[in-house]
């Protein structure tokens, strides 16, 4: 689909990523969503804002030319907006969050609350400007109507929020017959700690630190997306060396997470050897990061205007050596995983999401690529330096745990290739420039293909280079609902394996 096909003229937003923005009315919003859906595009994010009594709904779609941000003014009296969850099922939980946080309601779809439990009453909406961030309320009742499955022999297993392993909190309600899962319903929101409200009023510099702590395992991805958004609203162009170093950090983050996940996926099929081996490699990489860049996970290394840390030629050599060591070991471990009958028996056909369903539900990122959803912003919408690296996307069509394992192996190999190119071609020069002044009420967007999938940070600028409203979007919004489908028909003991193969963020969606 070409942008010319759209009936309205949108304005191009400045910045590193191809993004357009325009105001629409309710009818246009629906028809544009439908047009993008029919053209093979997808929904990226949906959020609301309070502009001092005047509300707005923002929807970001991905179409062939890039991002399309639509803003629908919602008047103070009729606080409803058109439901788009029939077009994009992933919109459901985002719309319910807008209801909880702003008191704007979709005209259809699921009307149950989502992020709100009992910390504040239903009549209060934390993202309204009139709501005080320090307000506290007497703990209320947290009733939530789970969908009950009835029938002969059907029973429920409630799990969480505190899980058996060292993982984030959430609640899973399984309806099962014998060992087989008929239905899974997720309830998240336990980690809601007011991140979006906390952003409001921060300076663009202050916000960078918080952005790096939205989801700890994707700190680089969020920091880069945030920096892009801040640079977009201020018209800042970071020096080339900074952009290349950002890509280096992002690929190192992808390697860290994929190595860790492959270890845990081995562990979950009783191949403890795999855990020990992959976590040695992950630790080697973490130590290298700590020594060269001063932080094992590279938190706060990407800042608006550039990066906070440089690397010398000895450091580049050190990265090259560490990668050689990792590459050799991963190749040996891949052979072992591939040949291990016990592991393959558990991986193959488990937790399957076929490409048709994945497309319908909007499965994205790594899990999407394992189900035939060929999206990778590094390849399709490459910013510097990806436009010079010719990224090769890994895709498979089986959509099972085995496919998600294979995509991780292939992405490790590709990330190592990309890092080597970056080491070779890293331009010299400055690593940071001063941030310009933000035009008030301007919208800026950052869009980064993190290890889990695409991260969007949308920043509405306020006065004096402060943030009026910021919405960070994690790919887990799209993928959590699909996990409910992936488990259907599988046995309960395979849930930890399937869940791990997606490895979705709780903190990134609970906000």
């Amino acid at each position: 689909m070409k942008l010319d096909d759209f009936p309205k003229i949108f304005s191009r937003l400045p910045g590193a990523m191809p993004a357009w923005h325009g105001a629409v009315n309710a009818e246009e919003l629906r028809s544009l969503c439908e047009q993008v859906m029919r053209g093979g595009g997808k929904l990226l994010a949906l959020w609301g804002g309070d502009e001092n009594g005047e509300y707005a709904l923002h929807v970001v779609l991905v179409a062939a030319p890039g991002l399309l941000a639509l803003t629908l003014p919602v008047s103070g009296k009729h606080t409803t907006f058109p439901d788009i969850s029939d077009l994009f099922p992933a919109a459901d939980r985002m719309q319910r969050t807008v209801s909880d946080m702003l008191g704007l309601h979709p005209t259809g779809g699921d009307h149950r609350k989502w992020l709100r439990h009992a910390a504040w009453p239903g009549g209060e909406h934390p993202l309204r400007k009139s709501f005080d961030i320090a307000a506290t309320f007497a703990a209320g009742e947290d009733g939530y109507p789970f969908i009950a499955v009835t029938g002969n022999g059907v029973h429920e297993i409630p799990v969480g929020p505190v899980h058996a392993g060292t993982i984030e909190p959430g609640h899973f309600r399984f309806s099962i017959v014998g060992e087989r899962v008929l239905r899974l319903e997720e309830r998240l929101g336990y980690k809601h700690k007011g991140i979006e409200k906390r952003f409001e009023g921060m300076t663009l510099e202050q916000g960078a630190r918080l952005a790096g702590r939205i989801s700890g395992d994707t700190t680089v991805g969020y920091a880069w997306a945030y920096a892009q958004a801040a640079e977009s609203v201020t018209g800042t162009v970071p020096p080339p060396r900074a952009l290349w170093l950002r890509a280096l950090f992002l690929e190192l983050e992808r390697l860290l997470n994929h190595l860790g996940d492959l270890g845990y996926l081995g562990n979950d099929v009783a191949l403890a050897f795999g855990f020990a081996q992959f976590w040695i490699l992950k630790e080697d990489l973490l130590r290298m990061n700590g020594e060269l860049f001063g932080h094992r996970y590279l938190m706060d290394r990407i800042v608006p205007g550039g990066v906070a840390v440089d690397v010398d030629s000895a450091g580049l050599a050190r990265i090259g050596e560490t990668l050689r060591h990792i590459e050799q070991n991963v190749a040996a471990l891949k052979d072992i995983y591939d040949e291990h009958a016990g592991a393959q028996d558990r991986f193959l056909t488990t937790g399957r999401v076929l490409p048709e369903l994945a497309a319908q539900l909007g499965l994205t990122g790594l899990a999407g690529r394992a189900s035939g959803q060929a999206w990778d912003a590094r390849e399709q919408f490459p910013c510097t330096p990806y436009d010079q690296l010719d990224v090769q996307m890994a895709t498979h069509r089986n959509g099972d745990v085995a496919a998600r394992v294979t995509v991780r192996f292939e992405e490790i190999a590709e990330s190592i290739r990309l890092v080597r190119l970056i080491l070779e071609r890293l331009p010299s020069g400055e690593i940071r420039c001063a941030l310009g002044d933000a035009a008030e009420s301007r919208l800026g967007m950052g869009w980064v293909e993190g290890w889990r999938g695409e991260i969007l940070v949308a920043l509405h600028a306020g006065e004096n280079n402060r943030i009026r409203r910021l919405h960070p979007h994690d790919p887990s919004w799209q993928n959590w609902p699909v996990l409910e489908h992936a488990i259907i028909g599988n046995i309960v003991p395979d849930f930890p394996l399937i869940n791990k193969s997606f490895n979705l963020s709780y903190s990134g969606v609970d906000l």
Partner: protein
């Protein structure tokens, strides 16, 4: 099978010496009898509770299980239920939505028990602080013995906090 054995032999033993306890990390005077502490210290069962973290601290807790830190080699295990635990390792500012779950987990842990709060958020609320959605530091919700600052603290620092909590050394 020979490939696995060859890889194990090629890897060798990675385990490093553990850190020493650090009394400056202790938040409260010890509440547990010395003799019991001595018993617990030789085989410690830990229940981790994420009360609202960004997931950064969890990444470092996972690392304690890798062969470099080899926490199980020291007789320290992560267990699946608070009812099996001697110690709670709590991360995050405590979100208001996790407040009840954390209190219940604490109550479900048999006495005598220890609590170690992990990370800047666990120590003082960190960047998220206190708000309509966050209770701030862990000690605002349950009693805490030892705090380990850092964002996130390294595996060595976390291990040091755990060992300090079960250390018999007088203040």
């Amino acid at each position: 099978m020979h490939q696995i054995i060859r890889q194990i032999l090629r890897t060798g033993i990675k385990t490093e010496a553990p850190p020493q306890p650090d009394e400056s990390l202790r938040l409260e005077a010890r509440r547990i009898n010395e003799r019991i502490l001595h018993q617990i210290g030789r085989s410690l069962a830990i229940r981790h509770v994420d009360a609202g973290s960004c997931n950064g601290c969890e990444l470092e807790i996972h690392c304690l299980n890798n062969p470099y830190y080899n926490i199980e080699g020291m007789g320290i295990r992560f267990v699946a239920s608070p009812r099996h635990a001697d110690m709670l390792l709590v991360t995050g500012p405590v979100s208001r939505h996790m407040e009840t779950a954390l209190k219940r987990t604490y109550d479900a842990t048999p006495d005598p028990k220890l609590v170690v709060a992990i990370g800047d958020c666990g120590c003082d609320g960190g960047i998220f602080g206190e708000s309509y959605a966050s209770c701030g530091r862990v000690a605002n919700v349950i009693p805490v013995d030892v705090t380990v600052p850092g964002c996130p603290p390294t595996p060595t620092a976390i291990l040091q906090g755990i060992l300090t909590a079960v250390s018999n050394k007088a203040r």
